[in-house]
């Protein structure tokens, strides 16, 4: 009798054999993919649940914040005066000029530094730059996206300059001192070249998933700062009284 494959035995164990093959096939082909799919689904569900919790908290916060909308608007107005949304150059320049005059300083020149250059081709060629050299050539002041840098040329005493700077520091438009250089003209009279920066704050950029980003909390420290910003310590430095100039006529042929 052959000692090789015994078909009798195979025939006897057909059912267990097929079952074993089925189980061995089902585990990697069906069960494992199902398990990994369940793990992935659970992860997504957990993420979505976390996002939902964050959204629900934000909705509650927004709802309670909206009940104090007037208060929020008034706080925003206070902050806006200190750090406006736009450059608002005209009232700023006129306001600062007025403060200098009020502090017995002569204003010789106010010069706005150039803003951001849109393209490289718009940059002036080096040889085309004015050859006039000043002591400020080494100063690296540029108006950035959220900073209006301007230069003032003033004349007066150091005491006047000090009180002028004091008013600017507590001005209800934030002005950052950048640099000044002074040279004596006569006894107690100096020619002062001062660089100031007026920051402004465009609308905040939104996050990738802004809708689920938690609402920022206005902390006690922020409230305290707001109270100080609204107090008499800060004085208005910008002016809104700007002469609009001649407006022309509707029909230039008939006159005014």
């Amino acid at each position: 009798m052959s000692k090789g494959l015994n078909f009798g035995v195979v025939k006897t164990y057909t059912v267990p054999f097929l079952s074993l093959v089925s189980v061995l096939a089902l585990v990697p082909l069906v069960i494992m993919p199902q398990l990994s799919q369940i793990a992935a689904d659970s992860r997504v569900i957990n993420q979505n649940r976390t996002r939902l919790d964050s959204l629900e908290k934000k909705a509650t916060d927004l709802e309670s914040q909206s009940r104090n909308q007037d208060d929020l608007n008034s706080k925003l107005a206070t902050a806006e005066k200190i750090l406006p949304i736009s450059k608002a150059i005209a009232p700023l320049v006129l306001g600062v000029q007025q403060i200098a005059i009020n502090n017995s300083l002569g204003v010789n020149k106010i010069k706005l530094q150039p803003g951001k250059v849109a393209t490289n081709s718009a940059l002036p060629k080096k040889e085309a730059l004015p050859t006039e050299s000043t002591n400020n050539d080494n100063l690296d002041f540029k108006s950035s996206d959220s900073l209006v840098v301007f230069e003032m040329s003033l004349s007066g005493s150091f005491n006047s300059l000090q009180s002028f700077l004091k008013v600017l520091e507590t001005g209800r438009r934030l002005l950052i001192f950048k640099n000044f250089q002074s040279q004596i003209l006569a006894e107690n009279t100096y020619n002062v070249q001062i660089f100031l920066a007026a920051p402004y704050s465009p609308l905040p950029l939104i996050a990738e998933d802004q809708i689920a980003t938690p609402l920022p909390e206005i902390s006690e420290k922020d409230e305290e700062l707001l109270t100080r910003l609204g107090s008499d310590f800060f004085k208005d430095v910008t002016t809104t009284n700007i002469n609009p100039g001649p407006t022309g006529t509707a029909n230039p042929f008939t006159g005014p």
């Binding site: 902050a79 920022p216 910003l229």
Partner: protein
């Protein structure tokens, strides 16, 4: 005499054992297969449960998103306010109090015979360059003393004498120093 006929086929012990094993093996195999099937069914059912749960979260999220969007003006105002306050706080705390720097230099120059300040440069990093003239070396020493001791020591650091030249009217000097104070808001 009666004789019995054995109609049952004679089975060897081996054959009996083999039958029992086969039955048991078949049962075990079917049981294993059924268990695997049951596990698969349970997994499918659990996936169904997860699907329903995900759908529920999705629906609720969509509802809450609508609520959040309806308050967009409040959100923009709050965001803007927070960002402005953060920037204002930073700028007020970090900027150089130039008026104080000028005041301190002028104050220190108030020596017995006042120092004549000819040039004064101050940068936002706090670096101060003073060029001036003192009538005598004693007055110059008094000026240096005022910068380096008492109030001066609190607000000035890294005081360096850049140049000192004797001329007909006294001593011409140039001094570089760092003004260390930052922040324009008085502390509460």
């Amino acid at each position: 005499m009666e004789t019995g006929i054995n109609l049952i086929p004679e089975l060897t012990e081996k054959e009996i054992k083999s039958g029992v094993y086969r039955r048991k093996a078949n049962l075990a195999a079917i049981g294993a297969l059924a268990s695997v099937g049951l596990i698969i069914l349970l997994l499918i059912a659990y996936r169904g449960y997860l699907f329903i749960q995900a759908r529920g979260i999705e629906n609720r999220t969509s509802e809450v998103e609508k609520i959040v969007v309806s308050f967009r003006e409040v959100e923009i105002s709050t965001l803007t306010l927070k960002e402005k306050l953060t920037q204002i706080d930073k700028l007020l705390k970090e900027s150089l109090p130039a008026s104080e720097a000028v005041g301190e230099v002028i104050g220190a120059a108030g020596t017995s015979t006042p120092i004549a300040i000819k040039n004064l440069n101050i940068s936002d990093t706090g670096e101060i360059l003073v060029e001036g003239a003192a009538v005598t070396s004693e007055v110059f020493a008094e000026w240096v003393d005022k910068l380096t001791s008492g109030r001066g020591a609190q607000v000035f650091s890294k005081i360096n004498l850049v140049s000192l030249v004797k001329n007909e009217s006294g001593f011409g000097f140039s001094i570089r120093a760092d003004f260390t104070k930052r922040g324009v808001l008085p502390s509460l």
